[in-house]
């Protein structure tokens, strides 16, 4: 039977609902976005999350493949990240993804990064470093939903000569660093946070990570350094979907108990239901003199229960038959109804 990390969390007496650090306040959270040009619009986070799933499913149907499970697990947490949790400068209008200009070179050649889609660098604003580069499709969808990336950007996804790469790199929309070799972003974000502290900047530096990244030694070296330097403006938000390429993480190489492990490295840790946007926002507002980590326990099939048929390996959706594809087409119909 399929069980998400969230179900397991609920079933396990060690991790009962009561033990969530923060209880959801049942509000319908929304943000004001300039989604279509400059006319401010009220948009519910739940609509953003649904939009993310729809866009990723539509894309996967059209291209016979996609990182669908990541959309299901992270839609709510990304709706929070791009819907106000991370204090990014607004854009006047959604940006068009450029053509790939070339790899970065000496004397400033091709040094522009995806940070432009996040509104650039400002001392009093937040920065967001997206780490799991294979989540790119989902991250692009979130940026379209929140008015940062042009509506048709996914048409350029994984196309020759495009910056809208399948595995996001630093020239890709929303990517400040090149982190397709996973677990390299958190160290760089720690460096960014340290540099910002030397300049007395007040903004936070956020990192979005996947749980697989906690298997790499580098992640723990970064945690160690961040707590040693008391980087309390460094905030990490993790999609704990308990899944990776080979299947369920507890069968591949467990990282649990993650909360106590990270706490023992000197971090403040909040463990939340990753589909509860209020809980995520509440966790994000925790004040601490330690670096903060929000562990979002999620379900890699949320919003698309059909995916449970593919358990235990959810990492990449490619349709194995026309029948399977038509089931997903039907699910898309239902999702958009």
């Amino acid at each position: 039977m399929y069980k998400s990390s969230l179900d397991i969390l609920m079933f396990n007496c060690l991790y009962s609902q009561d033990e969530f650090d923060l209880k959801p306040a049942m509000l319908q959270r929304s943000v004001v976005l300039k989604v279509n040009g400059s006319v401010p619009q009220q948009k519910k986070l739940s609509d953003i999350a649904t939009g993310i799933r729809q866009r990723v499913l539509a894309h996967s149907l059209k291209n016979n493949g996609g990182y669908m499970s990541q959309a299901c697990s992270s839609a709510e947490l990304l709706s929070c990240i791009y819907g106000g949790l991370v204090n990014l400068p607004e854009l006047d209008t959604p940006m068009l993804p450029g053509e790939f200009a070339g790899t970065p070179g000496l004397d400033g050649l091709n040094r522009t990064t995806g940070i432009d889609f996040h509104g650039g660098r400002h001392a009093d604003m937040d920065r967001l470093v997206n780490s799991p580069a294979h989540y790119a499709l989902v991250i692009y969808a979130a940026m379209i939903e929140t008015g940062r990336l042009a509506e048709d950007a996914l048409d350029h996804f994984n196309k020759d000569g495009s910056t809208v790469e399948m595995i996001g790199a630093e020239h890709s929309p929303g990517f400040e660093t090149t982190t397709g070799s996973l677990s390299q972003a958190i160290s760089q974000a720690a460096g960014i946070a340290l540099a910002r502290r030397t300049r007395h900047e007040t903004g936070n530096t956020w990192v979005f990570m996947s749980d697989g990244e906690f298997q790499e030694g580098q992640t723990w070296e970064a945690l160690q350094a961040a707590s040693f330097y008391g980087l309390n403006k460094l905030k990490v938000i993790v999609d704990v979907n308990a899944a990776q390429c080979d299947g369920p993480m507890d069968q591949v190489m467990t990282i649990e108990p993650l909360q106590t492990r990270v706490e023992s490295f000197g971090w403040k840790v909040a463990r939340v239901d990753g589909h509860d946007t209020d809980a995520i926002f509440a966790a994000g507002s925790i004040e601490s003199d330690q670096p903060l980590m929000i562990l979002c326990y999620t379900d890699g099939t949320r919003g698309l229960p059909l995916l449970q048929e593919r358990y235990p390996v959810l990492h990449y959706l490619r349709f194995t038959s026309d029948q399977e594809k038509s089931k997903y087409e039907q699910a898309y119909e239902e999702m958009t109804r």
């Binding site: 399948m166 090149t178 070799s181 697989g212 790499e216 080979d246």
Partner: protein, 337 residues
């Protein structure tokens, strides 16, 4: 030109080959299906070790196992075997000359995963490491027979392996032999040395070049280190008009460099043209696009030979047989990388 296409030549062959070799164990870093060893795991569950996405530790564990008489065969994408865990590879495996087999998939520009997934300098890095043997597979026959070659070596071996849909260029009863090149055509004007997937690409152009009356001595090499096959030395020191090398790798430190070293040491005064990635990183795009953009194709071979001969061969680009490039969503692959 078209060849028989073999689907997943490594998958079943490796299972059959391992049956009478109880010392052979497999370690993976969360890319088990992507490296065609999911069925191997199911066939020999006691000899399979899932190490999670933690490559540095995986190489260290493999070293310990090898010291105890096991023969670990590590399977992951090529980049993840030598970039992050380079120190572990050197100090834990190469220095003590342990029998660890590093099976690296997606060599060079064979993946749209971008710079983080493209092993374009592995030969350069690994050739500099004492005790290493480096092998590169050029077709399905070599994907099968490389196992015996590696198995017989009493030291660490790095293999550039092919997966998915692979052409069979060489007869199945002509297996790979350590440090012995395959002589694919004879002629005294140009010596051409190719490796890996570049051999098939070169074979597209060679009949057209020969039809213009140009004598080409074509050697396919699958042993990159050691690189002292007397047949190769003879061929590259005897070409009338010059030598061309062609590799799915940087022109720095790979086959082209190895050939240049031999030419210099033997006092050859012939010009040398190195076809390869010209000291740049690549980016995420299709193999066909990258081969054209970086000049890793039959067209570049025609141009290099024209330059060496000092005359045009009048070969229309359109007449060069269209490159056979595997569809991104081929069902022979676990995901779209």
């Amino acid at each position: 030109m078209s060849y028989e296409i073999v689907a997943r030549p490594h998958q079943q062959n490796f299972i059959d080959w391992s049956a009478d070799k109880p010392e052979v164990v497999v370690l993976t870093a969360d890319l088990t299906n992507s490296c065609e060893v999911g069925k191997w795991r199911d066939a020999y569950p006691d000899r399979y070790f899932s190490m999670g996405m933690a490559e540095q530790n995986m190489l260290g564990v493999a070293a310990g196992m090898a010291r105890e008489g096991l023969e670990p065969w590590l399977h992951t994408f090529a980049v993840f075997l030598y970039r992050r865990p380079l120190d572990q590879l050197q100090m834990s495996i190469a220095y003590p000359a342990l029998k660890v087999r590093l099976v690296g998939f997606l060599p060079g520009i064979m993946t749209p995963g971008g710079v983080t997934h493209q092993a374009i300098e592995d030969f350069a890095v690994l050739r500099a490491i004492p005790n290493m043997t480096i092998l590169e597979v050029g077709d399905a026959t070599e994907a099968e027979s490389v196992l015996d070659v590696a198995h017989a070596i009493d030291g660490p071996v790095y293999i550039r392996q092919l997966r998915g849909e692979v052409s069979r260029i060489f007869p199945q009863d002509e297996p790979m032999v350590l440090n012995r090149a395959r002589l694919l055509s004879t002629g005294d004007e140009i010596t051409l040395v190719t490796s890996g997937i570049m051999t098939e690409e070169a074979l597209r152009a060679i009949p057209l070049i020969q039809a213009q009356g140009v004598g080409i001595q074509h050697l396919h090499v699958s042993t990159i280190k050691p690189f002292n096959d007397p047949e190769v030395i003879r061929a590259i020191t005897s070409a009338k008009h010059g030598v061309v090398t062609m590799e799915n790798h940087s022109i720095v430190g790979g086959v082209g460099s190895a050939v240049a070293e031999i030419m210099a040491e033997h006092g050859s005064t012939s010009p040398l043209k190195r076809i390869g990635i010209r000291d740049t990183y690549a980016h995420g795009a299709s193999q066909k696009h990258l081969m054209a953009e970086l000049g890793l194709n039959a067209q570049s071979l025609v141009s290099a030979i024209e330059q060496l001969l000092g005359r045009s061969l009048n070969i229309e680009p359109a007449t060069l047989a269209a490159a056979r490039v595997v569809d991104v969503h081929s069902s022979a692959k676990a995901e779209a990388l």
